[in-house]
Amino acid sequence: MTVALALEQLLNGLQLGVMLFLMAAGLTLIFGVMGLINLAHGSLYMVGAFACAAVAAWTGSFWIGLIASLVAAAAAGAIVELVVIRRLYDRDHLDQVLATFALILMFSEGTRWLFGSFPLYLDIPPLLQGAVTLPGGTQYPVYRLAIIAAGAIVAIGLYMLISKTRLGMRIRAGESDREMIGALGVDIRTLYTVVFALGAALAGFAGAMVGALQSVQVGMGEPVLILAFVVIVIGGIGSIKGALLGALLVGVTDTMGRFLLPQIFAFFAPPAQAGMIGGAVASMLIYIVMAVILAVKPRGLFPAAHA
């Protein structure tokens, strides 16, 4: 193993982490402000990817598709909030889990209804095609660097939004005291819809970005959703900072585990078996990490004030 390869894998882990952060940020924001657990977040990710693929195919431009993904996911989020989610804030987590589980079924089947059963085509825009040579001589795909950059921009943007703007102030107020924010005269219903749509747009953005790299198909959001849950649980539910660090931790752990574990097992076992056992342990690794973290810190690394 060379330093260049290790560096490349680290970048890969970073990129996965950034992508997870886009998902986890929305989830944790929605939980932090409204106390709502949203299983259908992965469906919004899917909506973003499908909107981007469909619009990109129609207009021929990935960038218009990307904008469409933001709009579509935010709109879907706002509609869902208005029709369904709004009735769930006062319910217990059980009801929230169930209702959003039901939404997953509806979104998945509905998307298949609209777009059919075959995966859609979505390509990387020409501007970001190909690979660049990194210092050290490794080639690395431009698009993955772009995802890392986009994630960093979103993270900074979110930080600015929450710490510097009026909306952010209301969000913070909502996180610390739900009754007080009502007393402050903020229209809490609108605030909730806006926050939910914002979280949805982030998920849709992630879906569109990743859709170009993977396959745009029904059910694509579910594996990401579960990873995002692992992220926010590790980070501390409700904490954006926790989501960022949790996402990077999960991304790097997962990538490095898949890369290193088979090699470690190769010291004890023949290559084919080492590959299988290493692969098996690698697929469980992040859950093991999560269990260890929660055994030590039951409320995650950065516990939010309530939850």
């Binding site: 939980f31 657990i37 369904v84 009735r87 769930l88 987590h93 059980l94 009801d95 889990v97 169930l98 209702a99 589980f101 039901a102 939404l103 997953i104 079924l105 509806m106 998945s108 089947e109 509905g110 298949r112 209804w113 579960i226 849950f229 692992v230 926010i232 649980v233 539910i237 299988m276 692969g279 098996a280 697929s283 469980m284 859950y287 093991i288 999560m290 269990a291 929660l294 055994a295 039951p298 409320r299 995650g300 939850a307």
Partner: protein, 323 residues
């Protein structure tokens, strides 16, 4: 007999009557459907102990369901092939033995998962149980010895003294009796001193601690018992399908078990049975009408959660009562 008991009684009789009628009408498939209802109801009754009585929203009970299934599959495979299993012990095709092993292993797994998960609460608990189940799921998928993703076939259904288990009706009766025993146990536990403490811990954790009972121990015990019952259902489910695969461990399965309970009525004695019957009927009837049945299943579920919170039993038998 109050109204809820009457509804419960009718449900129990109906579940018994439908397979006999179907058998006589030469429609043995409905016997299979009824068996499925009974097994799912048993699994959900197990979950109901944790969720309904203890307020522990476990989103990972598929792990126990699947463990039970794999116990049945693995023991049967070894019995069939004659290869020793562990420490020279051989497999078995006797349901009795399989059940005991399934219950014990599921209980142990429940203790292990519960010991860590119960340190958390609320959303954390939901998520961490989900994550543990995913861990078991990925283990099953990538462990090559017992079929991995492909699963494990049981060529001939396991045996039970005095019953022709390959006959749909014979196997149904076994499952039916086990379900009734499971529901009976649930009723006993709910009314017992332990049930007192478990339910009190759901209503008011501080109160339980203040009288000197550690909620953690009570919950851990409840969680393990719950895992055992769900594990037993898993073993039966494997025998019903003569097949076990990681899909029994998937998070959709965990979700479905919760759905069954809520459809029927959370914490109600016959809630899981009512929910399972309703769910299987939905699946069957909707599937006959449209290829998009999952969409409508979601819609119905949503409506139940939003507007009919007591579930089916809430509609039929009114509000739940507590002694």
């Amino acid at each position: 007999m109050n109204r809820e008991n009457l509804v419960n009684f009718i449900l129990a009789v109906l579940l018994l009557a439908v397979p006999f009628a179907a058998n006589m009408a030469g429609q043995p498939f409905y016997v299979t459907l009824a068996t499925r209802v009974a097994i799912l109801a048993l699994a959900a009754t197990g979950l109901n102990l944790a969720l309904g009585l203890g307020g522990l929203v476990s989103f990972g009970h598929a792990a126990f369901f699947g463990i039970g299934g794999y116990v049945a599959g693995i023991l049967a495979t070894h019995s069939f092939s004659g290869e020793p299993l562990l420490f020279g012990l051989s497999g078995t095709n006797q349901m009795w033995v399989i059940w005991i092993v399934a219950v014990l292993l599921a209980g142990l797994l429940g203790l292990a998962i519960g010991a860590i998960s119960l340190r958390t609460s609320g959303v954390y608990f939901i998520m961490i149980t989900l994550a543990f189940a995913q861990m078991v799921y990925y283990f099953a998928v990538s462990w090559p010895a017992y079929g991995g993703e492909d699963g494990l076939s049981i060529l001939v259904r396991n045996q039970f003294p005095g019953v022709m288990t390959m006959r749909p009706l014979g196997f149904f009766l076994i499952c039916y009796v086990v379900l009734l025993v499971g529901i009976g146990l649930f009723a006993l536990i709910r009314a017992s001193r332990f049930g007192n403490a478990l339910q009190a811990a759901r209503q008011n954790e501080v109160r339980v601690a203040t009288v000197g009972i550690q909620p953690y121990r009570i919950r851990l015990t409840g969680f393990a018992i719950s895992a055992m019952m769900t594990g037993l259902a898993g073993a039966l489910f494997a025998d019903l399908n003569r097949f076990v695969s990681p899909s029994m461990l998937s998070w959709h399965m965990s979700g479905e078990l919760i759905v069954l309970i809520v459809l029927g009525g959370t914490g109600r004695l016959f809630g899981p049975l009512a929910g399972a019957a309703l769910y299987v009927a939905f699946e069957y009837a909707l599937g006959g009408i449209t290829e998009r049945w999952q969409f409508f299943l979601g819609l119905i579920l949503l409506v139940v959660v939003l507007f009919a919170r007591g579930g089916l039993l809430g509609l039929l038998a009114g509000k739940a009562r507590h002694g």
